[in-house]
Symmetry: C2
Subunit: 195 residues, 2 copies
């Protein structure tokens, strides 16, 4: 119970990120100007620059939150041998589905602004500490130790999850999310008959 900065709930910095995420989803990153973000927030452009060094930094901050969601899942690969990875994959997918549902907007940001996000990786501190999660997964798919068929099906399963869950909330009509998630889990399970 510190008196100051107990938690950054509702701090300006957080509100900037909220509004930015909102607008980046509506209009895309490039088409969203800092003026729009500031206007919707009721401040001026210059105020944004007190909290972030650049527009790219706002996107980077949002992207890093997505990173954090996937990092510990990917980290487990490093302690598993190839065969164990294949065996534990379906279980990992179940966790993954939960996170996609709980953080749909962050995943949507990544899906709908791929070009902008890829160029984050080239520039900045994004390199030093952060190996890009997508690159890491690509390297994983190129691993000769795993049977090609298994790798293809892994890629398929991720795409299937994204495709079915990203549009959740309207696309399938007026259906509770849980029902859709149940069907997605079943479908993905059929992609790994042995598991």
């Amino acid at each position: 119970m510190q008196t100051t900065e107990r938690r950054e709930r509702g701090s300006t910095r957080e509100r900037i990120l909220d509004v930015a995420l909102e607008l980046f989803l509506e209009q895309g990153y490039e088409k969203t100007s800092l003026r729009e973000i500031a206007d919707r927030l009721g401040v001026t452009k210059a105020a944004l620059y007190y909290h972030f060094a650049s527009k790219e930094d706002i996107l980077l901050e949002l992207h890093l939150r997505l990173h954090a969601l996937g990092r510990d899942i990917l980290d487990r690969f490093d302690v598993l041998d190839d065969e164990e990875i294949v065996r534990s994959w379906p279980g990992l997918l179940d966790e993954f589905i939960d996170r996609v549902i709980a953080n749909r907007e962050l995943f949507l940001l990544h899906q709908r602004n791929q070009s902008a996000i890829e160029q984050l990786a080239q520039n900045e501190r994004h390199q030093a500490e952060n190996e890009d999660i997508q690159q890491r997964f690509r390297r994983f798919l190129a691993n000769d130790g795993l049977p090609l068929e298994a790798r293809v099906r892994m890629a398929c399963s991720l795409g299937a999850i994204f495709s079915a869950l990203m549009g959740v909330g309207g696309v399938f009509g007026d259906v509770p999310d849980e029902e859709i998630v149940r069907y997605v889990r079943a479908a993905v399970r059929d992609l790994f008959p042995a598991g």
Copy 2:
């Protein structure tokens, strides 16, 4: 064998579209300037405006080619009743896979520049004659006549195909495309056990 304009092979207009597609994939639509397109083509910006009314028009032209690829497949839905759609879905997917492979770059353009392309739909002649293919598919997924599970699996199957085939050529290591396609077909088939 007409003497003039026999076919627009290698016409400047076509070369502009080729270079634009190339750069839109490398850098994204927004980060690509008309100057870059003109430079790589060996002409000036002004020359581009002789062939296209705006930068958006270049993207629109590329997008319409993707449209044409999917339209006749979607058109067949209109003459099928709901049950027939479910039954013929796996066969349609097989055709679809062929088209994705044959036109990978156009699909990549759509995948990596979603925000830019969605805003095409709001503005222009894109509305009059063209109902957006994505909207059409969304309406399809909302159709109550089909069992929800079937619709979820349909969405999954498309995502699986995209995810596995878009990265083809490098992502899975040095493997011929045909082999990967074969595994994708098998995987997608497992999503529709009854079919």
